[in-house]
C-alpha cells in the first residue's frame, strides 16, 4: 500500500471535544498489590514509566520475573556513579591544559570555558540516560532536576552543574529530607537562587521562598495577605535569616576551593519566630544548627510529605489529582513516607506495585516528555550515537557531539532543554493546570517530533552536523521468526504502541513489508536473502527500507506520543 494513502485514512472520533477529561472513567483506588494477569501490556506500562525507552530484552525479563521482582529490581540503585564528563574537543580556547578524555570537573572556574563544559555535562547526562541500566535511577535523576530546578543559563558553571546532577543520581531513591538539606548547600542552587548574597542585614529571600513554595511544604491557597495556608511571608523572612552565613568563595579560582561552609560573621543571630502554620515555633540564634532545625520544622508538617507524594504521582502515574486520588492514594502514601523517615523508595514500592498504578485508565495516558519521546524510539532500535566514518576526529568528540545534536538539542527543540528548565518551578507540563502534559505538544513541537522520526529513518539521517541514522533491522533482534511479516508487524506494534491494534489495521501495516497483490512470501524471501548473506548491501537495504518505512508509519501515529 502507498504510504500516503495509508496515512490519509482518518478515523478520528470527535467525542468529548470540549471536555478535558472523561469523567466517566472508573478507576481502582486501591494501593494493594496488583493481582491481575501479568502480561505484556502491564509489563510495558511499568517499564515505560520507570525507564527512558524500553527494548525487547527488558520486556522479556520483566515478563519472566513477574511484578514483584521486576519492581524490586527497578528500584535498586547502583551505588557506583558514572564516570564524570570529560573534555571532548580539541580547541585551544577550552581547557588547554587537558587532553581529550580528561575530566574538567576539578578545574577552577574559567569564564569563556564554562559554556563548553556545560555542553559536555549535557551530552554526558544524555549518554547516561541512553545507557541506563534496568533501574529507575535516571528517571529519578530527571525527576529531582525538575523538582529542584536550576538553570545553566543563569549559573553557567559546568562543574557545579555536574555535581548537582550526580547528587540527584546518588540520592535517586534516597532520603528526601536529606536531599532537601543537601540541595540548600549546593553551589549550583546557591548561585541560582542567590543564597550567596543572603547575609545578615542584607537578606535575600530568594532561596527561602522556593524552599517553602517548591522544595518542601508547597504553597497552599492564599487566605489573607501574605498567608499561603502552609506558610506566611513572615516565615520566609525568618527562614532567610536562618540561611544567612552559608556561603562559599565563588572567586576561589586560586585556591580551587568552592566548598560551602558556615561563616558566623555573615549570620543573623537574632531569634526567629514562625507563624501558626508552624505552631509558632521559635528558633534561637545558635548559628550553624539553625539550618537543620529549619529543615526539621518543615518536615514535621504533614503537608510536606503530601506535597512530594503528589509530585511523584504526577511523574509516574497521571496529572489529574482529584479528591479520590488525594484521599485514597496521596494521603496514605504520605503516611508511608513519614513512617519510613522520608525514604522515597518506600512510596514507590507500594505505588508501582499497586492495583491503582496498573488500572487500564492510566495505560498509555501519559503524553511523552521530549526525552521519553526520543528514548521511546532510540531504545527499541538500539540507536547508535557513536557514528563512525570521521577519521579526523577523536571518537569522544564524535560521541559527545552526536548526543548533543541528535538527542539533547532535539529534546530542546521539542521543549525540554535539560539543565535549563523555563524557571525554578521546572517544566510547565508538571504543574500548569489544566493542560499539564499536553503542553509538550503544540503546532510547533508535534511536527518537529514527527519530522525527527522521518529524518532518523531516512538515508541522510538526522540532518545535524553529526547525523545519525536508525535501522529498522535492529528492532527485530530478539524476534524468533522474522521471516513471517505477520510476526514482524505484531512485534513492532507491541514495542512502539501502548494500545491493542486491530487485526484489520495490522493487515494494512503489513502492506509496508509485502508486495501489493502478492503474498507474505515476498517479505520472507527478502528476509531469507538478507539472513543468508547479511553483508550483501542490496539484500540489507531491501529489508531495512521496508522496516524503516513501517516504523515511521507506526511511530507517526498519534498513539506513539503516549505511554
Amino acid at each position: 500500500m502507498d504510504r500516503r494513502q495509508f496515512l490519509s485514512i482518518s478515523r478520528l472520533k470527535s467525542k468529548q471535544k470540549n471536555k478535558l477529561l472523561d469523567n466517566d472513567v472508573i478507576v481502582n483506588y486501591s494501593l494493594s498489590e496488583f493481582s491481575g494477569e501479568w502480561n505484556k501490556s502491564k509489563a510495558n506500562h511499568l517499564l515505560r514509566r520507570t525507564l527512558f525507552g524500553v527494548n525487547s530484552k527488558e520486556l522479556n525479563i520483566t515478563l519472566n520475573d513477574g511484578l514483584n521482582k521486576s519492581v524490586d529490581n527497578l528500584l535498586t540503585i547502583d551505588e557506583q556513579l558514572p564516570e564524570p564528563p570529560v573534555k571532548f574537543i580539541d580547541n585551544q580556547q577550552y581547557d588547554d591544559g587537558l587532553e581529550i578524555g580528561d575530566t574538567f570537573i576539578n578545574e577552577p572556574l574559567a569564564s569563556g570555558v564554562e559554556l563548553q563544559r556545560i555542553l559536555a555535562v549535557n551530552s554526558w547526562w544524555i549518554e547516561n540516560i541512553n545507557t541506563q541500566s534496568y533501574s529507575v535511577r535516571e528517571k529519578m535523576t530527571l525527576f529531582w532536576h525538575n523538582h529542584f530546578a536550576t538553570k545553566s543559563d543563569t549559573v553557567r558553571v559546568g562543574r557545579f552543574q555536574y555535581a548537582t546532577n550526580q547528587l540527584f543520581r546518588e540520592n535517586a531513591l534516597g532520603n528526601y529530607k536529606n536531599l532537601v538539606t543537601k540541595i540548600g548547600l549546593d553551589q549550583n542552587m546557591m548561585l541560582f537562587l542567590n543564597g550567596n548574597e543572603n547575609i545578615t542585614g542584607r537578606p535575600n529571600e530568594n532561596y527561602a521562598r522556593e524552599l517553602f513554595e517548591l522544595f518542601s511544604i508547597g504553597k497552599g491557597p492564599q487566605i489573607s495577605e501574605g498567608n499561603y495556608t502552609n506558610y506566611t511571608e513572615q516565615d520566609i523572612q525568618e527562614a532567610a535569616k536562618i540561611l544567612t552565613g552559608w556561603n562559599f568563595d565563588y572567586a576561589g579560582i586560586r585556591t580551587n576551593n568552592y566548598d560551602i561552609d558556615f561563616r558566623p560573621t555573615l549570620h543573623d543571630y537574632s531569634t526567629k519566630k514562625f507563624s501558626k502554620a508552624f505552631q509558632e515555633k521559635t528558633i534561637f540564634g545558635s548559628g550553624e544548627n539553625e539550618y537543620y532545625e529549619l529543615i526539621n520544622m518543615l518536615f514535621d508538617q504533614v503537608e510536606t510529605s503530601k506535597y512530594i507524594v503528589r509530585e511523584l504521582y504526577k511523574w509516574f502515574v497521571f496529572y489529574e489529582i482529584d479528591d479520590n486520588i488525594e484521599n485514597n492514594i496521596i494521603v496514605p502514601l504520605a503516611q508511608v513516607l513519614r513512617n519510613n523517615d522520608f525514604e522515597v523508595k518506600s512510596v514507590l514500592e507500594i505505588l508501582l506495585k499497586s492495583e491503582h498504578f496498573f488500572d487500564t485508565a492510566f495505560i498509555g495516558a501519559m503524553i511523552k516528555n521530549p526525552v521519553d519521546f526520543i528514548a521511546s524510539i532510540s531504545k527499541p532500535v538500539n540507536l547508535n550515537f557513536e557514528p563512525g566514518g570521521r577519521r579526523n576526529f577523536d571518537p569522544i568528540t564524535i560521541k559527545y557531539l552526536a548526543y548533543y545534536y541528535n538527542y539533547f538539542n532535539k529534546a530542546n527543540e521539542f521543549g525540554m532543554e535539560l539543565t535549563n528548565p523555563p524557571s525554578v518551578a521546572g517544566w510547565d507540563a508538571y504543574f500548569q493546570k489544566p493542560n499539564y502534559y499536553r503542553i509538550w505538544l503544540s503546532s510547533v513541537t508535534l511536527p518537529a517530533r514527527i519530522q525527527y522520526l522521518n529524518q532518523l529513518f531516512s538515508n541522510a539521517g538526522t540532518g545535524t552536523p553529526v547525523p545519525i541514522k536508525g535501522s529498522g533491522i535492529e528492532i527485530l533482534s530478539d524476534l524468533e521468526s522474522p521471516n513471517d511479516p505477520n510476526n514482524v508487524v505484531d512485534y513492532i506494534c507491541e514495542q512502539l504502541i501502548s494500545f491493542e491494534i486491530t487485526q484489520e489495521f495490522k493487515g494494512q501495516l503489513k502492506g509496508y513489508l509485502v508486495t501489493e497483490g502478492l503474498g507474505d512470501y515476498t517479505w520472507s524471501e527478502a528476509w531469507y536473502s538478507y539472513e543468508l548473506d547479511p553483508e550483501n548491501a542490496l539484500y540489507k537495504a531491501s529489508v531495512e527500507q521496508k522496516l524503516n518505512n513501517l516504523i515511521v508509519a507506526i511511530s507517526s501515529l498519534s498513539e506513539f506520543q503516549l505511554m
Binding site: D24, V25, F362, M366, L441, I450
Partner: protein, 524 residues
C-alpha cells in the same frame, strides 16, 4: 455621483425591520459593545517585528553630527569618517550602509526612537532578550511574551477549535524554526513557526480506531486535534505562499546572502497571498560586535556595516514590495535589539554590551520623525558609561497596542503588566488621536426616546460605512447602511420603528476608523 443621489440610493427604505417579540433587556452595556467601540479597521493591521540579535551599536547607526569630534575620540576605534555619513534629520546622520533607510525617511515611511531601554539594564544577552520579549521589569521573570499576551487576550480559547471560520490563519508567524518568545502566551505558544514555505513539512500519520474509555482517549483526542490544527494551518500557509507574488527586481540588491531579506520576502509573499496573520517575527543575528566591528582598512565596511546594509536594504525592498501590492497602510514594522552598546569603543575595534539604543519603525503609518535626542558627551565619560534611557521600550509596545492594534485600556494593562506612557508613533490618521476625534464626531439620533420615527445624523470620512440596529444582547436586528460613502455629514430617517417593542436598542456605526454606538430608546 452627487451626495444627494448617493443618500437617496442608500436610504433605508429597502430594509424591513425584524419583528421583535417581547424580550427582556438589561440596561447595562455588555462587553460586546465595548468591543464594538474598539475594533474597527485595526482588525486588518499587521505588525512585522525584526529582532537584531546581539545588541546593535546605535551610536554607529544614527550619529549625532553636532558632537562628531567628541565622539570620534570616545569611539576612535570604530568611528566612521564624517564625509561618508548620509544626511538624515537635524544634527543626525546615518551610517553609510543605510541608504535604504534614508530613502524611506525621505518618503515619510521611517521613524526613529532614540535611547530606548529599561531601568536597571541587564547586560546578559539571554536575560536582556527575555526582558525585551516578555516586557518584564529587570528583577522579574515573566515566562510569556508581550505579543503572546496580546494574542491571548484576543483569542482566550486558543488553541481549542482553532483554526476556525473567523480565524483561518495562524495568529502569529515566526519566520524560523522556533516560535519567538515574544509570541509565547501565558500557557500556550500563540502562533506558529515556519521556515521554508516552498518546502513545508507535511504532518503525516493519523490515528488508530480507538474506542477507549480510559484517560488515554482524552489525551489521544487532544493530540489528534493539535495534528489537525497544525495541518490546517500549514495548508493555508502553503496556499498563501502559492498565491503570493514577488517582484524579484525590487529585491535585487539583497542577493548576497541577506537572510533577513529572505525572511521578509516570505512575509511579503504570505501577505500578498492573503494570509490574515497579524504578527510576523523575523530576525537577523551577529550584532554582538565586540571586535572587528569595522574593517581595519575601510571604516565603512566590516561586520557592522554589512549587517546594517542587510537590515536597511531588506526593509526597503519589503516596503517597496508592499507599495506595489497596495497594502502599505496595513503593515507596520519595528526593529528591536536586546541592548545597545557602550559609548566608548574598546581596543579590539569593537564595542561592548551597553544599554539604550535606537528603535526603528517603518511603514506609511509611522509618524516620520525622530523621538528623543543624544545628550551631550562630556569629557569625563568612562569606559563603562552608557547612554541614558529616554524611552522605556514598554512605552513603544504600549503605543503599538493602543494605536496600531487599538487594544482597550484595561486589556493593555493586563498585557503590559503596568501602565506606561505612550509615544505618538503613528501619523494622525492612524493613531488613536484620530480615534478620539472619531469618538467625538457627529452621531446622534432624535427624537430619542422615539416611538415611530427618528432621525439619525452622523459624520464619516470617506469609507465603507455600516450602520445597524442591535438589541442589548448583541443580536443584529436590522441593517441600515452597508455602503461606501464619501466624506461628509449625513442625515437619515429611521422609519418603521413602530415594529419594535418598547425598550433600549443600540445603533452601531462602523467605518474604516472604528466602531461606535448610541442607545436608542423606543417608547410606545
Amino acid at each position: 455621483m452627487k451626495r444627494r443621489e448617493f443618500i437617496q440610493k442608500t436610504g433605508i427604505a429597502a430594509s424591513i425591520p425584524f419583528l421583535i417579540n417581547g424580550m427582556k433587556v438589561s440596561a447595562e452595556a455588555t462587553p460586546f459593545f465595548q468591543d464594538l467601540a474598539n475594533a474597527g479597521e485595526a482588525e486588518d493591521r499587521i505588525l512585522v517585528l525584526v529582532q537584531l540579535i546581539g545588541g546593535n551599536d546605535g551610536l554607529n547607526t544614527i550619529i549625532p553630527i553636532d558632537q562628531y569630534s567628541q565622539l570620534s575620540s570616545l569611539r576612535n576605534s570604530v568611528f566612521i569618517p564624517e564625509n561618508k555619513l548620509l544626511d538624515f534629520d537635524n544634527n543626525l546622520k546615518l551610517h553609510p550602509s543605510l541608504g535604504g533607510f534614508q530613502k524611506l525617511w525621505q518618503e515619510g515611511k521611517f521613524e526613529t526612537i532614540l535611547n530606548v531601554a529599561y531601568p536597571d539594564q541587564n547586560l546578559s544577552h539571554f536575560r536582556s532578550t527575555d526582558i525585551w520579549t516578555s516586557a518584564s521589569d529587570t528583577k522579574d521573570f515573566v515566562p510569556s511574551g508581550w505579543l503572546g499576551r496580546y494574542l491571548d487576550s484576543k483569542h482566550p480559547n486558543y488553541p481549542d477549535n482553532y483554526p476556525n471560520v473567523d480565524n483561518p490563519d495562524p495568529i502569529s508567524l515566526t519566520i524560523g524554526n522556533v516560535v519567538s518568545q515574544t509570541c509565547q502566551g501565558p500557557v500556550y505558544t500563540m502562533g506558529m513557526a515556519a521556515n521554508n514555505i516552498d518546502n513545508i513539512y507535511k504532518l503525516e500519520g493519523s490515528s488508530l480506531e480507538s474506542e477507549k474509555d480510559e484517560y488515554a482517549f482524552s489525551e489521544l483526542d487532544y493530540i489528534n486535534r493539535v495534528k489537525k490544527q497544525t495541518s490546517d494551518y500549514l495548508d493555508v500557509i502553503e496556499i498563501a505562499a502559492n498565491q503570493g507574488r514577488i517582484n524579484d527586481s525590487i529585491w535585487a540588491s539583497n542577493d548576497d546572502g541577506n537572510s533577513l531579506a529572505n525572511q521578509l520576502k516570505v512575509v511579503a509573499r504570505l501577505i500578498n497571498g492573503g494570509l490574515k496573520t497579524k504578527v510576523y517575527v523575523c530576525s537577523i543575528a551577529n550584532f554582538d560586535t565586540h571586535s572587528n566591528q569595522i574593517d581595519s582598512n575601510d571604516e565603512t565596511s566590516g561586520q557592522h556595516a554589512q549587517l546594517l546594509r542587510y537590515l536597511s536594504d531588506s526593509i526597503t525592498s519589503f516596503q517597496d514590495q508592499l507599495k506595489e501590492y497596495g497594502v502599505e497602510d496595513k503593515v507596520l514594522g519595528m526593529t528591536f535589539s536586546e541592548f545597545g552598546r557602550r559609548i566608548m569603543s574598546n581596543n579590539s575595534r569593537g564595542t561592548d554590551h551597553g544599554s539604550a539604543a535606537p528603535q526603528f519603525l517603518f511603514g506609511t503609518a509611522v509618524n516620520p520623525t525622530v523621538h528623543g535626542f543624544y545628550e551631550e558627551f562630556n569629557s569625563d565619560i568612562q569606559q563603562n558609561d552608557n547612554l541614558d534611557m529616554q524611552h522605556d521600550f514598554r512605552s513603544v509596545y504600549t503605543s503599538i497596542l493602543k494605536d496600531w492594534f487599538r487594544v482597550p485600556e484595561n486589556d493593555i494593562f493586563n498585557i503590559m503588566l503596568k501602565n506606561f506612557d505612550t509615544i505618538q508613533i503613528l501619523k494622525g490618521e492612524f493613531t488613536s488621536v484620530e480615534s478620539l476625534q472619531f469618538e467625538n464626531s457627529l452621531l446622534k439620533c432624535y427624537p430619542n426616546p422615539a416611538s415611530n420615527n427618528s432621525t439619525l445624523e452622523f459624520y464619516t470620512v470617506t469609507s465603507h460605512v455600516e450602520i445597524a440596529i442591535y438589541d442589548l444582547r448583541g443580536n443584529k436586528l436590522q441593517s441600515i447602511i452597508d455602503k461606501l460613502m464619501p466624506e461628509g455629514n449625513y442625515k437619515i430617517k429611521l422609519s418603521e420603528l413602530s415594529n419594535y417593542n418598547s425598550g433600549i436598542y443600540i445603533i452601531s456605526f462602523k467605518n474604516r476608523i472604528g466602531k461606535k454606538s448610541l442607545n436608542l430608546s423606543i417608547q410606545k
